[in-house]
Symmetry: C2
Subunit: 483 residues, 2 copies
């Protein structure tokens, strides 16, 4: 999950407050709002219950996450193991009887290279002393020269402060944006706001700093936890090296800079090599009545390289795969086509969904809905939905099925509730994003600690159930959602 959806997560933040106030009810109040709740056929309701119960008792998704993270590993765009992941997912979907198409996507090949930083001048520094700074390069940036750079640091806490300093005090320096991720806000349910406030600096910090002549830009890691963990991510290319220091290191630098002059030696060799060919994995489980009508269930297959991308977003891909696995195993034949998509390059430019938008533009009118899961794998609360108001009553029966495990929240949103489905959402396709409990998501997001053990098997089963029930309902309900 990258910068693009910061705005969305901001929006999602309000959901939990609502959920906490009315835990036992859907956010769509059928009594207060017209039109009235729609119903599904008894057969469909029964099938949805069967799908839910099968998902809650199955570990197919977990096994997929385990293989993608343990046996394949990190999956940055353009890496060989990312290719391996593409072919693995394609093969798994073929085994479920899906028609699989590898859609060619040209992606940047990002190479991390050497990265290190140390303070070489600061108040009180002893001869020969080392204050090592823990950091990570950000995607999209420019490498330092081979031996690194050494320059004074200037610490700011927001864009206004940077502008007030002006070119005179920024030029030739390394700028640090010391903007903390607000863990208390996140833990209180406002994780989207916490993320949104801080990620803006990761996104355009380098650009703003470069505009005033800075020779490198560092941001405080966008994420919680207090374990000296650096959080990577994409940032807007600005022609200067850019990285993220840990919260501890940002605070250290800020304290020392408040005492006197601080200079840093900085090595960030990360760079982008020329584009490679990769793929969106697209698997169709053809509809029995309207094969041309498509419901997308999806997650993104690429990840950052520090961890193994378990919660971001092998989990999303795996629950989408499980929707197909359950339909296959239970011998179901929905009216419409269920299309599993494992998106490529959500993290480093969004080339996967951009390519899909071009290749499939003519078929968007037949895309009846699109679902993405890209907020981890903790307990699902329901869905953020971008759709016309008239569409919502058609979701109520599915909400009833999801209520038993607390995934019945429907939160209307004005923005796409997922980065990869944003072209579809923009074209008016009803778009669904699973809302997971995101309180601790940003403690691990884009770090070395995004590993299999962060996936709770029971919560993952719930996510698989939510995706399968909603995906199947949309594919088999009598009429398509109004749009």
């Amino acid at each position: 999950m990258r910068t693009v959806i910061a705005v969305l997560t901001l929006l999602l933040a309000s959901i939990l407050v609502f959920a906490q106030n009315k835990p036992a009810r859907s956010s769509y109040d059928a009594e207060a709002m017209a039109p009235p709740v729609k119903t599904y056929s008894p057969e469909l309701m029964k099938t949805l219950g069967t799908l839910r119960d099968a998902a809650l008792g199955d570990d197919y998704a977990y096994r997929q996450v385990a293989y993608l993270t343990d046996n394949i590993g990190p999956r940055p765009t353009g890496w060989s193991q990312t290719d391996a992941a593409v072919h693995y997912v394609a093969e798994q979907l073929r085994m479920l009887g899906l028609e699989v198409h590898l859609e060619e996507v040209h992606v940047p090949r990002w190479i991390r290279g050497a990265e290190s930083a140390e303070l070489v001048e600061y108040p009180g520094r002893a001869e020969g002393a080392v204050q090592r700074i823990v950091l990570t390069a950000l995607g999209g940036n420019t490498p330092t020269p081979e031996g690194g750079i050494t320059a004074p640091l200037v610490v700011v806490h927001n864009f206004d402060e940077l502008k007030t300093l002006g070119r005179e005090r920024v030029e030739g320096k390394i700028v640090l944006f010391d903007v903390p991720f607000d863990e208390k806000k996140a833990m209180a349910g406002f994780w989207g706001e916490a993320y949104g406030e801080a990620v803006d600096y990761r996104g355009r910090g380098a650009k703003e700093a470069a505009a005033l002549g800075a020779i490198a830009c560092l941001v405080r890691s966008v994420g919680g936890a207090d374990h000296r963990l650096a959080h990577t991510g994409h940032n807007t290319p600005a022609g200067i090296p850019a990285g993220a220091v840990t919260g501890e290191d940002a605070a250290l630098i800020a304290r020392l800079a408040a005492q006197g002059k601080v200079r840093m030696h900085l090595v960030l060799q990360a760079h982008t090599q020329e584009d490679r060919v990769s793929f969106n994995v697209i698997g169709d489980l053809k509809g029995s009545e309207h094969p041309e009508q498509v419901v997308v269930v999806s997650g993104h297959l690429d990840s950052w390289d520090l961890g193994t991308g378990a919660i971001d977003d092998a989990a999303g891909v795996a629950v989408a795969m499980e929707t197909a696995e359950l339909v296959h195993r239970l011998g179901l034949h929905p009216r419409r086509t269920i299309r599993v998509i494992a998106w490529m390059d959500e993290e480093n430019g969004g080339h996967g969904h951009d390519t899909y938008a071009k290749d499939y533009a003519a078929e968007f009118s037949n895309h009846v809905a699109a679902i993405e899961s890209d907020l981890g794998s903790d307990h699902p609360l329901g869905f953020a939905v971008k759709a016309v108001p008239d569409a919502l009553p058609w979701l109520a029966p599915a909400q009833e099925i999801l209520r038993s495990f607390g995934a019945n929240l429907i939160k209307p949103t004005e923005h796409s509730p997922g980065a990869d489905i944003s072209p579809l959402a923009g074209a008016g396709v009803p778009a669904f994003g699973v809302i997971e409990d995101g309180r601790t998501y940003f403690n691990y997001h884009h770090t070395a600690a995004d590993t299999l053990d962060k996936v709770n098997p029971q919560s993952l089963r719930e996510n698989a159930a939510a995706m399968a029930v909603m995906g199947y309902a949309l594919a088999d309900m009598e009429q398509v959602l109004p749009r």
Copy 2:
């Protein structure tokens, strides 16, 4: 805090259970046990109250921790900034009017060097794939050859399993002891047991593995937290490289090894250079009546290099310094000498206290008590005390003073309650270890995340108050503790 006190922390674990059952009472039940509680003079009681209140309202110790960690930084034995720390503490103590002596200690100079690991063969590995393993070298070990080693991994879960495998299946391999630190146990108050169970493998794992022909030894990091954080520490030299992988990496390797063959490329260049001269910093605030009688208040000045040694153990040194600062600032003149000691090399061989034991052996009979703080800086619950039963009634009045902020626990122990004061404890000197709330201590202990922000200023004030009250009481009570 290192291996030596694993046994002690095991013992300390039971304290919290006691504390939780009887939060409002001292563990010394004066009514049930003879002899009866002793009393101090009204003047001494008043002074102790004044010391406590002054400590609870002061940030001297915090400023010391900040300087030692931010401005000086990591303090491994034999490093230049460790020398800077020695001279800084000496100068601070001189400014308080103490007679300062730098006691020469020969210490190993430990150099971390390059360290990295990756799995080069494992089930499902894609051509060119990387599974990077996050690890740290352990102190006391032998470096790998410059280019590292590549060998099969064998995973065991205890020493018995290793022995069952035998030389045939261990020789030429890298052994991983996958023994988790039990976080639930730690959070329930049994942190000492959790630590003790796991640290045994860090201590003698390499030796046991080498005995069966292993060419390197890895242990699972001894500590909690789930943030892919490697925990370093000392281990018994065994002539083979030794390191600690993170909990996540140990689990990954174990899962892959259960599926098939796993081989690792391992670089651990850490090595020990020839001894350098360093120092215990010893500062005497001379007693007004019995200057020859000494009460030691202490912490250890050296640290590991990954973090900046804030909780292990700049905090201990700082609260000992604050005892002197308070006595100086309040113009107090205790009967006996209060000796502040900032011990050198607690972490990497214990040469500081060994040297002290030699240099001061003749004066041990005049050491009336010794206190050390080396379990972090969270809320102090009281003291672990190694002393004869008759000594305990003399502590009751001090406990009364400490009761207001919950540091009134006295827990008799058979072992030295601190590594650096163990020679004194062994010689019969009443020995006191501050018992801090250690539930999260081992999440940060010996990691890169042991930094200033982990020190809660209010808890540190409480630690300073506990050390000052107990230290002053022992130095000014009418008679010395029986021994």
